[in-house]
């Protein structure tokens, strides 16, 4: 069964919380190879994680 873009974004999100099994990683790689939209969203979600880390450390340093 092929993954829809919606499924891919769900798996990308899950990949930020746990290590995905190799089979799922392979299906994702195959999808990214042909789907620019999903590649963009993967990068956006990875950036969101960095942004939240940066947000949390700014807060605790009192920079606002």
């Amino acid at each position: 069964m092929t993954l829809s873009c919606r499924d891919v974004t769900q798996l990308v999100s899950e990949g930020l919380d746990r290590e995905l099994p190799p089979a799922e990683q392979a299906r994702l790689r195959a999808h990214f190879a042909i789907c620019r939209g999903c590649r963009s969203v993967r990068e956006r979600l990875q950036f969101l994680r960095r942004a939240m880390q940066s947000f949390a450390s700014r807060e605790s340093d009192g920079k606002r």
Binding site: S4, T9, V41, E43, A51, M52, S54
Partner: protein
């Protein structure tokens, strides 16, 4: 100055910071106020345990995190939260066609990390966070702001791991959409 009252005033000085921290996780000024008040009282009662091992702010934030989790645990027992998320979920759903493919392919953001040195970016991020549906926001903030593990969060909130994953996905998709519309695509 008496040592104990000096500690009290140092703790009191962190009140504004703690209020702000708690308000990122909890909705409702009274609840935020209560949780911070409990934290300050616990800190004053536990002065002996502080002993300057970490910064005062770090220590107080550690206490506050426990109080926030307690408050969330109580709130998730008291309310049914499933219905409230529908608005934002619809927004995210509108990104996809019936068959689960993109209506419009999202574009790549150009050098997004440059935004991390801009104060205005964080103001936009904060507004986007405030717009999330309550339950998705709660799970997302525990994961990405407190750095809790997903298993721990599901457990605390009494939701299944699958549902936890759905909520995190929804929160992340809603946030990237909000940042795209209000920051990157401007």
């Amino acid at each position: 100055m008496h040592v104990q009252s000096e500690f009290r005033s140092r703790v009191e000085n962190e009140r504004a910071y703690l209020l702000r921290f708690a308000s990122l996780h909890l909705r409702g000024a009274d609840l935020v106020e209560d949780v911070v008040q409990d934290t300050l009282l616990a800190a004053l009662a536990g002065e002996a345990r502080f002993a300057g091992r970490s910064s005062l702010r770090t220590w107080l934030t550690g206490i506050l995190k426990h109080k926030i989790l307690d408050a969330i645990r109580r709130a998730s027992r008291e309310t049914t939260l499933d219905a409230e998320a529908e608005g934002e979920a619809a927004d995210v759903e509108a990104l996809f066609r019936q068959d689960g493919h993109w209506v419009e392919h999202p574009a790549a953001w150009e050098t997004p990390d440059r935004s991390l040195s801009q104060k205005q970016f964080f103001a936009v991020l904060e507004r986007c966070l405030a717009r999330l549906p309550a339950k998705a926001a709660r799970v997302f903030m525990l994961r990405e702001h407190l750095g809790a593990e997903t298993a721990e969060i599901c457990n605390e909130l009494g939701v299944t791991p699958t549902h936890c994953g759905v909520l995190l996905h929804r929160a992340r998709m809603a946030l990237q959409l909000c940042l795209d519309r209000n920051w990157f695509a401007r």
